[in-house]
Every structure is written in structure tokens, then in C-alpha cells.
């Protein structure tokens, strides 16, 4: 494979080169397609099983398709188990985290890039170290902090905690994007008589918006996917459950309702999937930007 794949010197005729090209790409193309299929398969299986009628799920003769797609599982999950409520809770928490994190991180990023002040380096290093702390290790103390704030069983506890966890990374990333905007733009606006707030929110903020997209995806995913904190903080208030923790309800000791579990999983995956595909280019380039900085 290595031999075929290595490009050799180019004295061949056009057709020969092209045929050689097709040959050279045959193996990689096949491998890529097989891997793509295997990687996508669990997701396909999830959606398919969610759409299968109950009889086919229980059947011992599994088929990789269904001729009788039905929304029964979704209806049962959304009405019977109150998943609509959990979906809203999750969305509310995740969107609050995204908006707050973007605004707070933007301000902090401006502070560390546009000003030079005592302890500036110290502050920067603190943000860096904070990213290395495995936040799950803080579950135990945070449980007591949240309890003392009287926020156990509230969605606010999840918003606050995820805001804290996403900020160090968001600030670190926004720093690069703010630094990339020429200061002359802000200076020109100020000479034209624009106030500080105007310069900040009307001039600088729109310019770093692409960076905010990449940052926001990470904030959204962190908050949306969280299981451990939701499980720890939301103990008795069933109404304030978020999706990942609520999904556990379906696991019964003897008989799992796989149709329901797959429907709930599909509901939980689709928003993130759309989000990811929509911003995929910025995702990787955003990461690259943060890395190079």
C-alpha cells in the first residue's frame, strides 16, 4: 500500500497519470468509506431503532431497516415520560451558559489583550492552570457550595457551574481573536467620538463574532452533555432534571425500553449534531487559532 501511495516523479502521460491516480486512491478510498460507515453506524442504528415499532425492537430477528417507521417511541417519551420538559431544561441551561460565557469571556479577553497591568501575566497563567484542573474532581466541594447557596435542585446551579468551567477555555480562545483585531479600528472610532461601551460592543464585539462561534460550541456541548453535575445537584426535583440524567430513568433492572431509550437519545443528539455540522469549519480552524497563539 505504501508503494502505491507514494507519489513518484511525473514523466508519465496524462492518461497513465490519471489511471495511476485512480489506482493509488482505490485503497484509501475504500478504507475511508468503510471507516465512515462503521463510525456513522451507531448513530444510524439509534435513529432507526427510535423509528421502529415496538414489535420489531423486541423481535429476535433484527433487520437493519424498517418498513413500518413510526413516531410512537417519540410520542411515548415526550408525553408519558415528560421528556419535552427535560429537553427545554437542557436547552435553557446550555443557551444561558453560551450567552453568559460569551459576554463574560469577551470582556476578560479584552482586559488581558488590550491593557497592560500589574499581575496581567499572573491572571493569564491562572486561566491556563484552570484549564488543567479536571472539573469532575470538584464535584464533591461544589455540591457543598451549591447547597450553601441554596441552589440544590435548581437549574441555576448547573448554569453557574458550567459557566465557571467553560470560562477559562473561552477566555483563552477569545484572547487570540481579540488580539487579531487591529487596535487602529477602535482608536479611529474613539477619535470619532464613540464612547467606551460603543467601541466595545458595536465595533470590537462584531469583529470577534466568528471566534465566539467556535467558543460557543464548546460551551454549549459542555453544558448540554453534562451528566455528572446534573446527577449530583438535581437530587429530588424531578421537574428540573436535564436530558442526560433523565435518560437513566429508562434503564430498568430487568427489561430495558430500548425503543424509548433510542428515541430519547435521538432527541438529545440531534441539536448537537446540527450545531456541529453547521459550524464544522470554524470548529477546527478555531481550535487551530487557539493552538497557534
Amino acid at each position: 500500500m505504501t508503494d502505491i501511495a507514494t507519489p513518484r516523479g511525473g514523466v508519465m502521460t496524462g492518461t497513465a497519470t490519471r489511471r495511476r491516480g485512480v489506482m493509488r486512491r482505490f485503497v484509501p478510498n475504500t478504507v475511508a468509506c468503510v471507516v465512515a460507515f462503521l463510525t456513522a453506524f451507531p448513530l444510524y442504528w439509534m435513529v432507526l431503532s427510535a423509528l421502529k415499532p415496538d414489535g420489531e425492537i423486541q423481535s429476535l430477528d433484527v433487520k437493519p431497516w424498517t418498513l413500518h417507521p413510526t413516531l410512537d417511541n417519540f410520542v411515548r417519551v415526550l408525553t408519558g415520560e415528560g421528556f419535552g420538559r427535560y429537553l427545554l431544561n437542557s436547552a435553557g441551561v446550555a443557551l444561558s451558559v453560551v450567552v453568559l460565557s460569551a459576554a463574560v469571556a469577551f470582556l476578560a479577553a479584552v482586559a488581558v489583550t488590550r491593557f497592560r497591568f500589574r499581575f496581567r501575566t499572573t491572571v493569564l497563567i491562572m486561566f491556563l492552570i484552570a484549564q488543567m484542573v479536571p472539573v469532575e474532581a470538584l464535584t464533591i466541594p461544589l455540591f457543598f457550595v451549591v447547597r450553601d447557596l441554596g441552589l440544590l435542585n435548581t437549574l441555576a446551579s448547573l448554569v453557574l457551574v458550567h459557566l465557571a468551567f467553560t470560562l477559562p477555555f473561552a477566555i483563552w480562545m477569545m484572547r487570540g481573536f481579540v488580539a487579531a483585531v487591529p487596535e487602529a479600528l477602535e482608536e479611529a472610532a474613539m477619535i470619532d467620538g464613540a464612547g467606551r461601551a460603543t467601541v466595545l460592543w458595536r465595533i470590537l464585539f462584531p469583529l470577534v463574532a466568528p471566534g465566539l462561534v467556535a467558543t460557543s460550541v464548546f460551551s454549549f456541548i459542555t453544558a448540554w452533555n453534562d451528566f455528572i453535575f446534573a446527577r449530583t445537584f438535581i437530587i429530588s426535583a424531578k421537574d428540573n432534571q436535564t436530558l442526560p440524567a433523565a435518560l437513566l430513568v429508562f434503564f430498568k433492572p430487568d427489561e430495558n425500553d430500548w425503543g424509548g431509550i433510542m428515541a430519547a437519545s435521538t432527541l438529545m443528539t440531534i441539536p448537537v449534531l446540527i450545531f456541529f455540522v453547521a459550524v464544522q469549519r470554524r470548529l477546527v480552524s478555531g481550535l487551530g487559532g487557539a493552538v497557534k497563539d
Binding site: 484509501p28 425492537i57 437493519p64 476578560a108 482586559a111 466541594p141 456541548i221 434503564f251 443528539t269 464544522q280
Partner: protein, 311 residues
Amino acid sequence: MTAGVTLGRRAVTPGRRAATAGGRARPWLYLLPAAAVLVPLFGYPVYMLGLLSVFDYRQAQVSGGQPSTFVGFANYATLLGDGRFWEVLLQTVGFAAALVLATLAAGAALAVLMTRTGPVPRTLLSLAALGAWAAPAMTGSTVWMFLFDADLGLVNQVLGLDGFNWFYDRWVTFAVVGATIVWHSFPLVMLTLYAGIQAIPASVLEAAALDGASAWHSFWKVIVPMLRPLVTIVVIQSVIWDFKVFTQIYVMTNGGGVAGQNTVLNVYAYQTAFGSSEYGLGSAIAVVMTLVLLAFTLVYIRALRRGGEGL
């Protein structure tokens, strides 16, 4: 608009804004919202984690029935003398190491593969990888559990293994959970490295090929050195993720598997604290986990520095 006038006159470094009195306080004003969140909800919990780990803190102390007593390093001594802790620690290190190697090998191999395919297979692979990356840990766990379900799972039916339980034997369970985690985490490595390879000037790779470098050689001798900062990030990221894995183990093995045989450090800390109400001991485990990760990160970065690589 004194600030604006000052700006116009002064030198070119960002330092100039500190000149006015308002300018000196301003960066702190901008940092205030971040501090208001991070100090109580990040800094303080870190401090409190350390504090809890040196106290005898259990259910009686939580409910206020008994005063909490300072026990020094007694919790740590308990851990070090506990065979169960060592078993979990070693198991976690081994599991994480296997996951990191598998994730990096798969991610890097596929990134190189992507540079050699046509556009259609490449797009298919990217989209599939994005899907696996996007899938929440929770739903990834449920789907893989369903695929490997003893009675109704697809895998058993395809392989003709009637009623084989994949979540019974310790190592088989680790393998299935590990596959789920690698499925989740290889896309980040693959897409990041692919983007990095794209940024390498084509002439460099062509020159290597003309000089007779095989794919294997040009990967190790050209791509990896040129992408050192990216590789560093994905290695550290993978180690951190895989060492503190929680959701997949907790959900797929129902809290640690048969008799807790699949427990990893993060789950162990959680169970010790919230399951057995040993909050002090649980905190000590969490501290150990944090220190192991910090030590790894620092050693790794130092090794890179010594190798003459700037981060």
C-alpha cells in the same frame, strides 16, 4: 474624551492606556464578571477540595450532628494502605493509556488517510466523524449498550452469540466501553491533525516523497515534528479526557460493573463520596486524580521543552 487624545499621542504598545487613572482600573473592571464567577465556583472549590481531603467528613458532619475533625493525612494514609484503591488506580492508568494509544493511532492514521482519498470519501469520513464527536457521552453509551445487549443487541445476532453478556467479564466490559470512548474521541484527533497537515506546505511533503520517504517516514519525520504544538494539545487533551472518564463507565457498567470490577478513579471518588457518604475520603481520591493529571501535563510539557520545542 481624554482617553482618546492620550491614545493618539502615545507610543504603540498596549501599555499606554494604563496612563490615565480610569485606565488603570478598567482592565480589572472588565475582569470583574469573570472573577465573580471563577472565584466562588472554581477557586474556592479547589481550595475546599484540598481542605475536605484532610478532614474526617461524613454523613454525621454533613448534617451537622458532629463537628468535623482535622485528621491531617489520615485519609491519604487510608487510601495508600487500601488494596482496593491501588487496584482502581492501576486499572485507571492502564485503561486510560490503552484508550489514548488507540485514539491517537486511529486519529493520526485516519488523518493521513484523509490526505490520500478523493473528495467524496473524505467528506463522508469527516461527516461520520463529526457525528461521533457530536454525540453526547450519554447517548453514545446508550446506543453502544443497545448494540451489545445480550438478547436484543445487533452484535450478538450478527455473531450468532445467543445471550452472550458483554458486561460480565471485566476485560470484555472494558473493551466494549473503551471502543465507545475511542469512537467518541478519535474524531477530534483526526480532524485537528488533518487540518494541521493541510497547513503544511505541499512542497515540503513532495520534497520528502521525492527524496524517497515512505508514508510511514514522512509521517514521523515531517508531519509530526511540524505539527508538534497540535500533537501536544491532542495528546494532553486525550490523556485528560481518558483518565477522568466517568459517564461511559457509570452508565454502561451501571456504576462500576459486577462487584465494582470496572471502577475507575473518577467513579470511585464519586461512589465513595455520594454512595458511602465518605466525603473526606472521596475528596482525597479526587485530589490524587488531579495531581496525577497535573504531574503528567507538566512532565510532558517539560520533556517537550527540553527537546528544544517551544510550546
